[in-house]
């Protein structure tokens, strides 16, 4: 199914500001964002609405990765997902020269997503990567279906920004 992720610019700025903050030992920051969704004819629209920052204490000092969160951070995101009945997207940022998920990102997403799919099974959970003025999203729609990339991620605000998956 074709999917679009639409992010309000104010929320994007909130996410970027949080992810840009330095951490004592982590090289980057992570976060989650809750999202609602809607069917648009044969397509799916995913709309993030609330960002969940990860507290400094919930990072694990691991020199092998840019950032690693502990189980408390994951449990907090799962609880917020359960409470809201929303979808949840894991969020982090890359330098504009790396506008794609790394191997480790993809591996970790495979480990993380089953918990969210078990919490709110009918929601399109996934991962959102921000890079420069663009973004890419990978979504799981449940029922054992493999994940797929959103066809486009749109930033809605002044100015509008479009990141299309295919050329």
């Amino acid at each position: 199914m074709k999917a679009t992720v639409r992010i309000q610019r104010r929320l994007l700025v909130e996410m970027e500001d949080d992810l840009d903050r330095p951490h004592e030992f982590a090289k980057e920051r992570l976060g989650f964002v809750l999202a609602r969704w809607a069917r648009a004819a044969s397509e799916l629209v995913v709309i993030p609405f609330e960002y969940i920052s990860i507290a400094d204490d919930n990072y694990i000092d691991d020199a092998k990765v840019g950032a690693k969160m502990n189980s408390t951070a994951i449990r907090a995101a799962l609880q917020a997902t359960l409470n809201s009945g929303a979808a949840c997207l894991h969020v982090h940022a890359h330098h504009p020269t790396m506008p794609f998920f790394g191997d480790l990102d993809l591996t970790e997403q495979e480990k993380l997503m089953p918990s969210f799919l078990a919490t709110v099974p009918d929601a399109p959970h996934g991962a959102l990567l921000l890079y420069g003025t663009g973004a890419v999203a990978r979504l799981w729609s449940g029922n054992g279906r493999p994940p797929g990339y959103a066809e486009r991620v749109t930033v809605v605000g002044f100015p509008m920004r479009f990141s299309w998956r295919s050329s």
């Binding site: 679009t4 639409r6 992010i7 309000q8 610019r9 104010r10 929320l11 999202a35 609602r36 969704w37 809607a38 069917r39 648009a40 004819a41 397509e43 629209v45 995913v46 709309i47 609405f49 609330e50 409470n83 809201s84 009945g85 709110v120 486009r152 749109t154 809605v156 605000g157 002044f158 100015p159 509008m160 479009f162 299309w164």
Partner: protein, 272 residues
């Protein structure tokens, strides 16, 4: 760059891609919407979601762009306004993808949610209210246009109108004071109903062209100046289009209180 669009390359290096790939909705294909569709097709927009449940009548020919006398002939078959829009678009771009619906948008709202931007060319305040609520819920910018010609007594007719850019997260038509509970209530009680509404092609043209200009700027950011909601007031008797006093000189408004970000997507029900 495609030779056809070489004269509009000033819109930016990515403009052709954005214009070609963006999905544009037009709700209402009458006097305003038909102008908009024609201009979008000339600009190279390629993906459309269109709605209008009406067919062409003789009284539409004073302003319905693309319509001919033959379209208004009453007979066994009627020409829909959607058919006129399709003809205009495909006359310029035979490969354009048009998802057309010859019904009220409320009857088949799903395709509208695919849109990156919607033009609202509807007649009533209540329909504007409904369309804006749908756009906000699905995070879609809405550009509303409307023309009104008031004839009172022996005074000269008074032509007015508006172009409003309603951007999710920014002031809505309620914030801007264009829609009010009182106005919606009066309309609902049929207050002021006075037969067919006067309309004219040149007023529609001004508003439609302005709306398209705002849309292109929003999508391409070619001016790098469009950074807040737009509420333009049209004074047809003076041939003037200016920022409404309610938005003029104001900075970026706080987030719209009428449409909080938590109220997006399809409503869901879940057990606490």
């Amino acid at each position: 760059m495609n030779e056809r669009f070489s004269r509009q390359s000033f819109l930016g290096p990515d403009s052709e891609t954005v214009i070609t790939r963006a999905v544009i909705g037009v709700v209402g294909l009458g006097g305003g919407g038909s102008h908009i569709v024609q201009q979008l097709a000339h600009l190279g927009f390629h993906n459309f979601v269109l709605y209008d449940g009406d067919h062409v009548e003789e009284s539409n020919l004073n302003r319905l762009i693309g319509a001919t006398s033959a379209d208004a002939v009453t007979g066994v078959t009627e020409t829909s306004k959607l058919a006129i829009a399709l003809r205009v678009i495909h006359g310029l771009d035979p490969t354009a993808e048009v998802d057309g619906h010859s019904v009220r948008w409320q009857d088949e709202p799903g395709p509208l949610r695919r849109c990156d931007l919607i033009f609202g060319c509807v007649d009533s305040f209540s329909e504007r209210d409904q369309l804006e609520a749908t756009c906000r819920r699905h995070m879609i910018p809405l550009i509303d246009i409307g023309l009104d010609i008031a004839i009172v007594g022996d005074d000269p007719p008074l032509m007015g109108g508006q172009v409003i850019l309603s951007m999710p997260g920014e002031p809505c038509m309620h914030c801007l004071g264009f829609l009010t509970k009182d106005l919606l209530a009066k309309e609902a009680s049929n207050y002021g109903a006075a037969g067919p509404r006067p309309q004219v092609v040149f007023g529609n043209g001004v508003l439609a062209s302005t709306a398209v200009a705002i849309a292109v700027d929003l999508l391409t950011d070619w001016t790098r100046q469009l950074r807040r909601a737009v509420y333009l007031e049209y004074r047809g008797n003076e041939q003037a289009l200016r920022s409404h006093p309610r938005v003029k000189d104001k900075g970026i408004a706080p987030a719209c209180p009428h449409y909080p970000l938590t109220n997006v997507g399809s409503p869901i029900f879940h057990r606490l």
